[in-house]
Every structure is written in structure tokens, then in C-alpha cells.
Symmetry: C2
Subunit: 205 residues, 2 copies
């Protein structure tokens, strides 16, 4: 696994590459000069991700841009905040699938004074009013809403003020969010629809 | 909304139609004769579902088969059993999306003596050992598994002995089920992957 700093350098490489036309081919010396590092460092960083340019061949700018973009998306760690630590929220906080390398719930919020200050899955439950202030400080990118439907829009507005880039919504209600915020609604009766469809096919066949 | 008995008659119509070649066109009298009912009854049943054959034109067998199959899949009520009434199971039992006309959780099971006999969402929690006996009695078609991963296969085996046609599995483990049982695994980190991908696209664009 690549050290975190190598992943960070990659975004620097990508920013540099953005100002170079796609049809160019760069020698590693030239590329190092543009970035402001050594060609050894570049070769080493890229080899962490299985990219072994052939010595003397140079790098195709279009291929390099594509490859680094792909690597950055895979390796980025996503810091999440969950709002509404009830039955569903607690199940998600304890779920091993959310604690994989890539996604980590870092903050949890609720409005219930009985819950604020308690710890679940190693995370202290905070007051929902603190979302706009705490999210930017903790570089939170995505909010998960597991509150009742009637407060979900208000919670979404707080998450947006906290500068999230995306919202995963479990509450059965339609949320209005600005275009730049990506919204994904979850409805667990959909997999049931799919399952029931396949069962019916079996029956009528 | 059509009365339940009209939906049941439709499956009788479909069984009759199965023995007739697709390319045939049947008059409503002929169709009634084959089914053993009156042409008025057939016309009335089909009109519940918005199917108004034109008097004197008769019914195309291929269209009728397709249409009734479609209606039967939509209107069928699915009776479900949930196993593992913990955080996630309780959230699903209380979730309005599962109480729509089509899907209804009728039975709930757990192995914890503290929970057996208690009521949640109007349903009494039963002993998991009773699954093979209670499921056929209650015409349960689908089992939902919200237990820890290490007991999920054992629970799946019980559901299969209880004659379910499908399993919705939330436990993070690979289940082995016979070919005739439809299995759908749920992993809530997948929608997160999708969300993070769209956010990344936005960033690099
Ligand atoms: N999408 C699905 O498939 C699915 C499945 C199950 C449940 N749900 C939905 O998920 C939500 C949570 O369900 P649950 O069973 O965990 O409910 P719950 O009542 O157990 O939990 C709700 C939590 O939200 C907190 N809360 C209430 N108002 C708040 C606010 N203004 N700010 C912050 N926190 C607040 C409550 O204190 C509680 O802890 C509900 O909307 C439910 O309909 C969705
Ligand atoms: N797929 C997903 O996206 C997702 C999300 C959250 C949680 N989960 C998973 O869902 C499962 C439930 O999570 P939770 O947080 O509700 O756990 P939980 O511990 O709160 O609930 C588990 C329940 O199963 C019961 N149980 C244990 N052994 C049993 C047996 N042999 N037969 C019947 N019941 C039994 C327990 O008594 C308890 O009530 C876990 O496997 C968890 O990993 C999956």
C-alpha cells in the first residue's frame, strides 16, 4: 500500500499535468522539472501504483492523466458524518463495511440530549447544532442522514452549511439540495422489488 | 383497487391460457368456456386492471398472457419474515417503506430470550428455532437476515427449511443457498462508492 504522502504528491502531479496538452509525451526529466521534483521520485511514486514507465520511453500525458485520476479516486479516504443515531444510525456506525480503508465515519450527531456526549463505535455523539462548525474542521466530505423524515431537510441544510460534497439519505422524504451537492437516496424496499420480480419469473416460467 | 379475489381469478385465467398457443385470438365467450366462468365475469375482472377489450374483437392470447403476468407480479402481496431483531432489524420493522401494500413483514425471530415474546411494530418476536414450522403455516415467501455474520448461514438454512423462495441478506458473509432460492445481498457501502465516484468526477472535471 502506498504511503499517504505518495498519494498526495500524485494530486500535485495531476495539477501540473492539467496545464499540458493531452497529445504530448514527456520524458521523466522534463516531467520532474515541471513538477519541481526529481525523476527518481516520480518513478518511485508511480511504481507504488503498479505504473512502470519504460526507461527512455517517456510518459504519454493523456495516459498519465487518466491513470493518476483513477488512482486518486481509489485511494482517497472519505471522511463521513452521520446524523441521527437511532436504530438505523447505530447499526451503520457499528457496521464493519463502513470501516473499510476507504470510508470512515468520523463524526456522529443527534438532537436528543440523552444521546449527546455518549460514545458509540468509538465515536462521541455531538449536538446536531454543531454540524456547520465541526464539519469543515474535520474535512468531512459526505453526510449520512438517518433521522426521521420530518427533520431531514433541516439536517441536509446544516450539512450543506458544513460544506459536504455529498449526502446519503435514508429518510423517506424528498430533499432539495444545490446542484453542486451530490445526493443519493436509499430505499431498502427496492432490493425487495428486485428479489420479488426474480421469484415471480421463476413461478410463471 | 381490485378485490383480492379478482387477482386470484387472474391466476386461474393465466393457468388456462398457458395451454393455448400464443398466436390464437379468443372470443370472450370461448375464453369463458375454457376457464369455466361467464364472459361478463372475465370482462369485469380485466377492467379492474384497466384492460378494456373491445366488444366483438376478442382477446389475443399472447397479449393476454403478458398482461396478466404483469398484473399478477404487481398485485401480489409478499409476506416476509425478518430474523435478527437488533438495531438494523428493528429499524426495518418500523420502516414505513416495508409496510406498503406490497411487502409486509408478518413474522420476526430472534435467539435472545430477552427479546422473544416482546412486540415491535405490532409483531411478536418468536424463537428462531420455530422458523421451519411457522413459515409454511403463514405463507411466508421471503426471509430477511439481519443477524450477525457468524450465524447467518444457519439462519438461511432454517429459512430454506421453512420453504422461502427468496432471501434478502444484510449480514456481511457469503451464503450458500440452493439454486431455486433467490438470494440478494445488501451492502450499504455500495451506494457510498457510487456517491464518492460522482463527487470525484466533479472535482477532477
Ligand atoms: N431507507 C430505508 O430503506 C430505511 C430503512 C429503515 C429506516 N429508514 C428511515 O431511517 C430513519 C431512521 O430510522 P430509525 O428506525 O433509526 O429511527 P429512530 O427513531 O430509531 O432514530 C432516529 C434518530 O434521529 C434522531 N433525531 C431526531 N430529530 C433529529 C434532528 N433534528 N437532528 C438530529 N437527530 C435527530 C433521534 O434522536 C434518533 O436518535 C427514518 O427516517 C426511517 O424511516 C429508512
Ligand atoms: N448490509 C449492510 O449494509 C449493513 C449495515 C449495517 C449492519 N449490517 C449487518 O446487519 C447485521 C445486524 O446488525 P445490527 O447492528 O442490527 O446488530 P445487532 O447485534 O444489533 O443485532 C443482531 C440481532 O441478531 C440476533 N441474533 C444473534 N444470533 C441469532 C440467531 N442465531 N438467530 C436469530 N437471531 C440472532 C441478536 O439477538 C440481535 O438481536 C450484522 O450482520 C451487521 O454486520 C449490515
Amino acid at each position: 500500500k502506498a504511503p499517504e504522502v505518495a498519494v498526495q504528491r500524485l494530486s500535485l502531479y495531476l495539477r501540473t499535468l492539467k496545464s499540458i496538452p493531452d497529445d504530448r509525451v514527456l520524458s521523466s526529466q522534463k516531467f520532474a522539472e515541471l513538477v519541481g521534483t526529481t525523476d527518481n521520485q516520480i518513478r518511485k511514486d508511480l511504481s507504488y501504483f503498479g505504473w512502470f514507465g519504460i526507461r527512455g520511453q517517456g510518459y504519454r500525458v493523456d495516459r498519465l492523466k487518466e491513470e493518476i485520476t483513477h488512482i486518486l479516486t481509489l485511494n482517497r479516504k472519505w471522511r463521513l458524518a452521520l446524523v441521527g443515531v437511532g436504530k438505523l444510525g447505530s447499526a451503520l456506525l457499528m457496521y464493519p463495511g463502513f470501516r473499510k480503508d476507504k470510508f470512515q465515519i468520523k463524526l456522529a450527531f443527534d438532537s436528543d440530549p440523552e444521546k449527546i456526549g455518549k460514545t458509540i463505535g468509538g465515536i462521541v455523539i455531538q449536538d446536531v447544532e454543531k454540524i456547520p462548525e465541526l464539519l469543515p474542521l474535520n474535512k468531512i466530505k459526505v453526510g449520512i442522514i438517518t433521522t426521521p423524515a420530518d427533520v431531514a431537510q433541516d439536517v441536509a441544510d446544516k450539512l450543506i452549511r458544513g460544506k459536504v460534497k455529498g449526502i446519503l439519505n435514508f429518510a423517506p422524504t424528498h430533499l432539495v439540495v444545490p446542484g453542486k451537492v451530490k445526493l443519493k437516496n436509499i430505499d431498502l424496499s427496492i432490493p425487495l422489488e428486485i428479489l420479488s420480480f426474480f421469484i415471480s419469473l421463476e413461478k410463471i416460467a
